[in-house]
Every structure is written in structure tokens, then in C-alpha cells.
Subunit: 330 residues, 3 copies
């Protein structure tokens, strides 16, 4: 049997390989037309690894195996090295000879672009900024001056690294918001992915840091002086306010908001749309606004839906107690 | 009487036409300086369609009539066909002779741009991408490689079609998030509008699809493998997680979040900021986080505001019941 | 003593100046290595303005003093005036001789760019748009046709001024959403800052207005015909729906959402993630979704976390009251 493609269980055809990692998709697994399916070691199969004509390939972590196989089937596109004559590269920029700078990409004075880096059209590397080896800037991604992007990073279209942090002080006499210069930088460590239209602001002083291997989805806001530890996951439209620090392996659901100047411990998880206003201890899962421990939040949200009923019961009880009190006195 | 312009009720001057469709604006209607007002058929008028000197034009749907009239008064700008000498069009791209490709716009190898399409400066059509007839890409809008945009679509500035879906699997031994290649595409069917800085991610495998005539506001996130039916409305800053399917005519309020792998039925409505974590049946309106039926949510939210009071009442009742119990025993 | 740099309390080294404005940072203040610290007039110091070897500089408003000092230490970068030969400036555009138009920046026909304005690469000034004196458009910032940006404004990367407002009317017979042309403009008054990937939509008719000195963070959505008064603060990912009016000095926390057609009074404050569905009176602070007075919201949120407990108590009470009622009857 030759496998010539990968597909999800429901869409896989003959000759394709799929994976089954979540019992939620049991029906799709049983109905799949795939020729082979990566399954966990505990998945039962009587017939020498075959089930309904599907070859089952037992692996420790089917999803991980699928991801690695998928990387073989769908390698990143190759790019011809060199600077396009229509690229806008400053004479005093340093671009590695194996890097690709496409038409319309900008590399400003004093910037450095590492080996095999790829700058798509409209992407922007500001003055004295550093782009690491094998890093890709998709179209119109922007890295402001002096900011640092590590190796093997991916910046998706229209993402922005190093815009000014949001810092103003009201002058009550002149009636103006006085800008606090944002003189620091933003630094993405190695293997960071930054989604489309996501923003990592530069620090007021010092650095805003995204830790090694952290992955950030689209439309995310990372404010000035935030520090995110390695291997964290930030889902779409989440926002982290200034100076907040996250440990490693933290997972933020979509549209989560975190207030400023907080400490979020290692491996903390936040349910989508949580609003976090206090420090969170390592290993905790929280939810809701203001966020509380997730189990508590779930139980409270069940009662929330019953509140009108609960109010009615309370009022009824009040009436009955008043009756009892009346009955007692005479 | 000649009408030479359109304006909202409060701003309309003599010679201008306005519309009155919502009783909420009755005061503005009564005070308007407009020469003519489109009104619904049930709007009362004694004087042969005139009221305080204003000509009332009765139509079935004043807002719709206003929209159509407005299209006559404010036609889209005309553009000279042709490829600017300063556009960055690959030799192997196919641009229709009636299309407009402005200075600084990018059309990559193998891409196709349809008749009368308009590519503003800085917009980007990736390799082998397809742009349909009469579609407009505003400045810095990006369509990644192989993605498909139908006819008569509008992509506003800095919108992104086809960035990678957010898919990683943690390798617990190597301690890295392994990227699942996002080898599918994003497809916008005909007559779709995509707001500024909105993102439609490409599918992991297969397609992310925005149905015919669906309109998407600014800063919206559509994750990989989502499918939105035709004629839906997605307000600003809403987000839909991976693989979720929406029916036709669905309306999402601003900042709504929907979890992944859900089914949202036809004509479902979601109140602004809802957080939807479960399937929603066709025709339902939901609100809140986690979202519940909208009427229930409204009633619960009223009680929510009374919770401190309610707690006090409960404590008081408890005390009184304890008193009663004491009184009973002796 | 010579001061040669500024730094936060924890990071400051010898020779650097810091500030201490919030008692929350008392520990950092006591441990700082800074040579001098700006402090409020009420900060105690026995030793002639010195404390642990640190020179204390008493000022009325330490944060404001720090901001002004910081502007001296970190002045904005100087740019060489003139139009880059690689800029895309239309022959019929008017660019002031002291303005800087960098390579890849676009100035369309009939647009005007004021004195000392700076247009970074990929930024876009649409037809007949106006850019005021000393205003900076960072890379890939877009100003649509006819829109107006005042003096001393800053538009960060990928921000968008003047994209179409989101206005459609469903034609129930043709089954299409008919677009209401967005024929108005967006106007930013003087001294406005607009964050990266933030959007200010143009008005349907008339103007969307951001008042003088108002500061807007990243990823913010301002819908058509919104009017924000002067000196307001809009934090990241907040969104304001169409035609809503804000007074002066309004402060929106992150991820706040405001419904359309509302009036928000002067100096109103909204807690992060608030969802505001009704008018808000001047001077009020609100929180929650739907938003209520902030103190009430805080108290209610405390009870919310106790809801499961409260439900249990209520049920217990019900049982006890039923017992009492039984006991009474015989």
C-alpha cells in the first residue's frame, strides 16, 4: 500500500493517511475511507492492525506523529536566495547571502538579516533590527527599529513587532496626555510564531520578550514590557497588558484579557474570554471575568443560568418564612 | 423639487433626502430639514405625503431603498485599467486586461486576477492565488498563495486571507511545539466583504470557506477549516475557532467568540461578546459566556446585578429560619 | 552626580534615574540601585532628600516628570526631509518640502502631506487625503481617500483610517446584503495616536471623529460615525459600534465593547472587557457585561463565585422551611 496524501478522517480517500486521537471523532474514525490511520496504542484492533479494511498504525502520540509526517508531505516552499532588484534594501544593511529578500520588501539602515531568512513583499525590517536564521516575514509584516527576532520564527502578514507601548501621563494643567517615550525593544526568541495582525509592543525601557518556542495566533495584543516564558500558547484575539509576566507552557484561550503588572505561573491555563485581574499560581486553570478557578467558574455559570428561578425561589421562601413567623407569635 | 444629496435625518439640509426606518429616531424625523424622507408604508401622513413641509416617500423598506439610492449617488470610484509600471507583477501571473494593478501592488507567480479587479498599492496576491472579477483589494490587503477570492469581493486594508491556521502538537520529549503544516487554502465565495485587519486562515487540509454574500467587519478572526454559510454577518472583533461550521444568515455581534468544532445552525444570532462553547440550533438567539438562550441571559443578567442584595436576603432568611427552628423545639 | 539614563526601579543601575509614584512598588523603590529617584512630595525622607544613598527628587507628579525627562533622553529620531526616489508619489499630490516620504510609501492623487510629516515605507495616503504637520505614518499604515489626519498624530504600523463602515441592508427578495455606500470620511484631530492594527472606519455620511489628544492603543475598532471627545484613552482591543458618541476624557479598558447609537458622558471609565449596551452618564465607572456601575459589578462578581454554595444554602433552607411548615400544621 502506498500513501500519497494526508487528510482528516472524514475527508480521507483511498491512498490517504489520517489520524485518530480524540474519542470525540469515533464516528468519523469508523466511517473513514482512509487507507491507513495513526492510532494510539490503546485503540483496540483484533485483526492484526486492520479494521474495516483500514490499516491501523499504532503510535504513542497519533497527533504528533501526524504532524511530523505532515511536515514530510508538505515541506515549506523553497525560495531562491538573493535580493530582488525591486527590494528596498539600504546600502548599510547586512543581508546574508543565502537570505531571500523579495520585491517590495524593506531592510532599513543597519539592519541584519540572517541566513536563509525570507522577507516577503511589503515586509519591513527597521533600522538596526535583527532577523534570525531561517526566519520568515510574510507580506507586510513589520519589525520596528532595533527589535530582535530569533531564528526559525514566522511572522504572518500584517503582524507588528515593536510598535510603541501605550504609555501616557495626563498633564492636568496643560490638558494633554504626555507621551512616555517607548525607548526599549521587543525581542522574539527562537522558534516563535506570530499570527497575522498580531502586535508585540516594544518596552518603555528594557525589553518585551516572547520566549523560545511560544506560538501566538492572530490579532493578539502583547503590551510593553510583557514577558512570556517558553513554549506558551496564545490563542487568537487574546491580550496581555503591560509588564505582566507569564511562565512557561502557559495556555491562553481566545479573547482572554490579562491586566497589567501580574505574575502568571508556569503551565497556567485560561479559558477563552477569561478576564484575569490577579496573579495566577502555577498549574492553575481559570475562567470567567473576573477570572476564578475554572471548576468554580463552570459551576457558577450553571447557577447563573438559573438565577431568575433562584430569585423566585428565594422570594417564595421569604413569603413562607413570614407566614411561619406570623403563625408562631400568637 | 430636486434632490442633490443624501444625509441622516439630523444632518440633512434642504435639497437632501433621508430615511426614517426606526421609531427610535422619531424626534430626528420630526425635526429634520430634509426635503424628502423615505418612510415605511405604515408611517402616518395626512397631507398627501407631506409633513411639516417634508415630502414623504412611502416605500416597503425605507432602509433598503436608501441603500439602493445611495449607491446611485455614491458610485464606487472608477479606475483606469492596466498594470502600473511600478506594480510588482510576476511574468508568469495572469492579469485580465481590464483589471487595475496600482503601483506597489504585488501579483506573484502563477496568480490570476480577474476582469475589472482592482489591486491597490501594497496589496498582495500570492502564488497561484485567484482573484475574481470586480473584486477590490484595498491597500496592503494580503491573499496568500493558492487562496481563492470570488467575484465582487472587497478586502479592506491590511486584511489577510490564507495565513497559517494555528495548529501545533507538543512534543513532550523534545519540548517543542511541532507545527502541523497548514496545507489547505482559504476560499471566499462571491460578494464577500472582509473588513480591515480581519483574518481568514487557510485550512490545515481542505478549505476554510466564507459563503456567498457573507459580510465580515474589521479585526475578525476566522480560524482554519471554519465554514460560514452564505449571507451571514460577522461584526467587528468576533472570532471563530477551528473547524466550526456556521449555517446561512447567521449574525454574530461584536467581540463574539465561538469555540472550535461546533455546529451553528442557520439564522442563529449571537449577542455581542457572547462566548459560545456548544452547538447552537438553527434560529436560536444566544448571549453571555458561556452562552445561553438570549432571553434567559437577559433575565439572569438582571439578577446578577442584584446578587449582593440577594445574598443578604438569603442570610437574613437563614437567621430567621434558625430562630423559628429554635422556637419550635422547646 | 551625573545622570546618564533612565530605568524602572528594579532595573536602574548607578548613574540612572527612576521614579516612584505607586506605593505598590515600594519594595522595588527600597531596593533600587538608581542614583536618583523622582518621588512625590509626600514621600518621607529624613536625610536631606537622600535615602539609602539614593538622591530623592521631590516633584508634584513623579510620573509626569519622568515622562517629560524621558522625552529629553529619548527624542524622536530625526529624518532627512525629501521624497525618496523609490516612493510612489502621484504627480498631483502636494508634499511639503520638509516632509519625509520614504521608499515604498504611497501618496495618491490630490493628497496633501504637511510640514515635517514622516511617511514610512508601505504607508499609504489615499486620494485627496490630508496629513497634518509633524504627523508620522509608520510602515504600512493606511489612510483612505479624503480622510483627514491632524497635526502631530502618530499612526502605528498596519493601522487603518477610513475603511468602509459596516453597513448593509438585507434585500429579502434578492437574498443579498445590499451595501450602504460609506461616503463620509474619518477625521483624526491633532495629537491623536492610533495603535498598530487599529481601525477607524469612515462615516456613512458625514464624519467619524477622534478628538484632539485622544490616544488609541492597538487592535482597536472604531466604527462609522463614532465621535470620541478630546483626551480620551482607548486601550487595546476595545471596540465602539456605529454612531456612538463619547465625551472628553473617557477611559476604555482593554477589550471593552460598546454598542451602537449610545451616548457616553465625559470622564466615564469602563473596566476591561465591559460590554456597554446603554448610555452612560458623565463621571460614572462601569464594569461587566451588560455593564453596570463598577462597585456593584465588583460586589456581584464576588457573589458570582459563591453561587454554587448559595444555591446549596437556598435548597437547604427550603427543606428546613418545609419541615417547619409540616411541624406547624398538626
Amino acid at each position: 500500500m502506498q500513501i500519497d496524501g494526508l487528510a482528516p478522517l472524514e475527508e480521507a480517500a483511498k491512498g490517504q493517511l489520517s489520524f485518530f486521537a480524540n474519542s470525540r471523532y469515533k464516528r468519523a474514525f469508523q466511517a473513514t475511507q482512509a487507507s491507513a490511520v495513526l492510532v494510539g496504542e490503546s485503540t483496540g484492533s483484533q485483526n492484526n492492525g486492520r479494521k474495516n479494511g483500514v490499516t491501523l498504525v499504532k503510535v504513542q502520540n497519533p497527533q504528533l506523529a501526524f504532524a511530523r509526517l505532515s511536515q514530510l508531505f508538505y515541506p515549506p516552499p523553497a525560495h531562491v536566495a538573493g535580493i530582488s532588484p525591486e527590494a528596498l534594501v539600504h546600502a548599510e544593511a547586512m543581508v546574508h547571502s543565502t537570505a531571500t529578500v523579495m520585491a517590495g520588501a524593506v531592510v532599513a539602515r543597519g539592519a541584519t538579516v540572517g541566513a536563509r531568512a525570507v522577507l516577503h513583499p511589503g515586509s519591513h525590517v527597521g533600522e538596526r533590527a535583527l532577523i534570525g536564521e531561517d526566519t520568515v516575514l510574510h507580506p507586510n509584516a513589520v519589525v520596528y527599529d532595533r527589535c530582535v527576532v530569533g531564528a526559525r520564527c514566522t511572522l504572518h502578514a500584517s503582524s507588528v513587532v515593536g510598535a510603541d507601548g501605550f504609555g501616557f501621563v495626563l498633564d492636568p494643567e496643560k490638558l494633554e496626555h504626555v507621551k512616555i517615550p517607548q525607548a526599549g525593544i521587543a525581542r522574539l526568541e527562537d522558534d516563535v510564531e506570530l499570527g497575522a495582525c498580531s502586535c508585540v509592543d516594544r518596552a518603555t525601557l528594557g525589553e518585551t520578550v516572547i520566549g523560545r518556542g511560544t506560538k501566538i495566533d492572530n490579532l493578539v495584543q502583547i503590551a510593553h514590557n510583557v514577558r512570556i516564558g517558553p513554549l506558551s500558547i496564545v490563542c487568537a484575539q487574546a491580550g496581555i497588558s503591560g509588564s505582566t509576566q507569564l511562565g512557561h507552557g502557559v495556555v491562553l484561550g481566545g479573547q482572554v484579557g490579562i491586566a497589567g503588572h501580574l505574575e502568571i505561573g508556569d503551565l497556567v491555563k485560561m479559558a477563552a474570554q477569561s478576564g484575569v485581574a490577579q496573579d495566577v499560581e502555577a498549574g492553575t486553570t481559570v475562567g470567567g471575568t473576573p477570572a476564578i478557578e475554572a471548576g468554580n467558574w463552570k459551576r457558577s455559570s450553571v447557577v447563573y443560568a438559573q438565577l431568575p428561578e433562584l430569585l423566585k425561589e428565594l422570594r417564595d421562601l421569604k413569603r413562607r418564612v413570614a407566614q411561619l413567623e406570623k403563625g408562631k407569635k400568637p
